[in-house]
Subunit: 363 residues, 2 copies
């Protein structure tokens, strides 16, 4: 077995102790006589797994009691529709900040569905090289919610603060930064996240929703997208993605064993600093993101020469630094360094970057 | 490791060679240097996996070229909404046959969403102990589709034939009988199925849709439920449930290695016959389903005494025959004997049933 460092934006690396435990338990889980993959979601064997997953996540994120935790399917993209279907009934209109491709898709989805939505801020004209400034006075006071994408995977940006939306509930896509550092859940009305970046394999979507926001669902909406239905049924209105929830539980357990999100943040900062400090110390690579908007999870850079960028990604892969190619919509390079990426992986990347720069002088 | 025989209705048993291979490859897949769980869905490592999954399923089910195969999320319950959202625009109305709980839910979902739907046949008054007779003249000629549930997991019934809907496209939920025997796909407009009974762990939904039915989607519907969007993007409009698709691929590969669906049907018939023949040979247990509607996958029976039923399920579990309790809505016992249940499991069940009957004479 020769494991690589996988810088994929998602699905992405999982912690080795988690993978090892999953492999050990795959044929037979504890005394159950079966794989977790084979367990009925309503069985005494499975119930503690989903209960523990929720309890551990609540402990990890310090989720207040008046928030429901839902384990769903369909990815963040399904929530782009579920958010207005569940919430816009509160006042009939909603505001969006567009800081990249996914927040743009969320906005367009609500528009397509015929809702009264407004883009109150965007950094599109700057190629999304920073996140927009959001102040309370920009938000319509009668908006049902303000939607943001907290960390922008493709561009490598993140809000350096939680925007103050006043009395308007803040709804945030945290797919690419969830459980990477502590976050004050009470500042949000709804947090949602695809699991495949920092929590589990693909196929699980987490929704954390304040209870008072469960009562505005469109009565004609698809039942499976109704948060209230899922909350009332403990995420088991139908069969949940049981095995992926088990994998998430193992990941939560791993982070708790390390000391929780404060420790995770320190580890992630140390990795990100290593890479950003190197980027700031040289001029072969350009880091396009404005410093105050830099993401700790997704670090983007370019050589300024598309052919060199291509060579970089190819040669890096050949030495076991895989998936460094930037998103197809922006090009360049992107190193996604989520929780499971070891410090040594970033060290190896920086060493490779130095070698590559030395071996490939620009014209 | 002491594996049990797991008669769960779903999630349910997976073939041992499949679980063994998944365990062997869990930390590192081939030369990729990573787990399949960690692979970017758009990487050269992952692409052959989803391509092979589709190719193998097409071979297995003999799916005609004018049908799209979609690997989705959300379970059959999500398709209860997706079916009318994608299809009812064809004519504005749709017909349903209600043969159990899930077909009832599908009907109610379309009703709730405000559509003109009609229940053309139901066996509700007979406690769903058989499937309804469906003839062409019962179907509205201008129905956008006729919806049926082909195998009813909870009651243990199945249509003994594919109903003739004439020119009206037949839409069928095959969750609990898919790939258990050959089926003429060309007789259906749409087939859908949750994977967690006969194909993979929970978290994957298969949709097989005739191409000419992709053009009727409600323009305001959630994009993630649009079959056309998913078909145009090869099931990768967003991140698919990559690992669960890989597990399905291993299952398809296993069935192909055994000889395909003809062989699978023989194996399943042999198991079902063993159990039904025993049920028909004695009068301690009652099999409530009418013979012509019997399911090959889900076999229901009762002692006629709720306390004895409870004792049966409990004592069976204690000797490694787990999850024999019937669905909470109907009680009694249910043995789900999907593809992965070995013949020896059904033998062990029948032996236990004989012992239990001998040891627990009725008053």
């Amino acid at each position: 077995m020769n494991r690589v460092y996988n810088f994929s934006a998602g699905p992405s690396m999982l912690p080795m102790p988690v993978l090892q435990r999953a492999a050990d338990e795959l044929l037979c889980y504890g005394e159950s006589g079966m794989s977790v993959m084979e367990m009925s979601h309503r069985s005494a064997d499975y119930e503690p797994i989903i209960a523990d997953a929720e309890a551990m996540l609540r402990r990890l994120m310090n989720i207040p009691d008046n928030y429901k935790v839902l384990f769903l399917q369909g990815g963040a993209s399904t929530q782009f529709a579920a958010v207005p279907l569940n919430l816009i009934g509160r006042t009939g209109k909603a505001d969006y900040a567009v800081s990249g491709q996914f927040s743009g898709k969320a906005f367009k989805e609500a528009q397509k569905m015929g809702y009264d939505v407004k883009c109150i801020a965007t950094t599109k004209d700057d190629n999304f090289d920073h996140v927009p400034v959001i102040t309370k006075d920009m938000i319509r006071p009668d908006a049902a919610y303000l939607h943001i994408c907290f960390n922008n995977t493709i561009y490598g940006t993140k809000y350096p603060y939680i925007p103050d939306a006043g009395d308007v509930p803040l709804v945030a896509d945290l797919s690419s930064c969830i459980i990477s550092e502590p976050v004050d859940v009470s500042r949000f009305g709804v947090i949602y996240a695809g699991a495949q970046k920092n929590m589990a394999p693909a196929g699980l979507t987490l929704v954390i929703v304040r209870e008072d926001l469960l009562d505005y669902a469109d009565p004609k909406m698809p039942t499976m997208l109704e948060w209230k239905t899922m909350a009332d049924n403990g995420s088991m209105y139908n069969t949940p993605p049981c095995y992926t929830i088990y994998m998430a539980k193992l990941v939560y357990e791993w982070i708790l064993s390390l000391g929780g999100l404060d420790v995770m943040k320190q580890m992630n900062e140390r990795k990100a600093n290593l890479l950003y400090d190197y980027l700031d110390s040289q001029d072969y690579y350009i880091a396009p993101v404005k410093k105050e908007s830099r993401s700790m999870m997704n670090v983007t850079f370019v050589t300024g020469d598309a052919e060199l960028d291509k060579k970089f990604a190819k040669e890096a892969a050949a030495v076991g630094l895989k998936n460094l190619k930037g998103h197809r919509s922006v090009g360049g390079m992107r190193a996604s360094i989520y929780n499971a990426m070891p410090y040594e992986g970033v060290e190896a990347l920086v060493a490779f970057m130095k070698d590559f720069a030395a071996n490939n002088p620009k014209a």
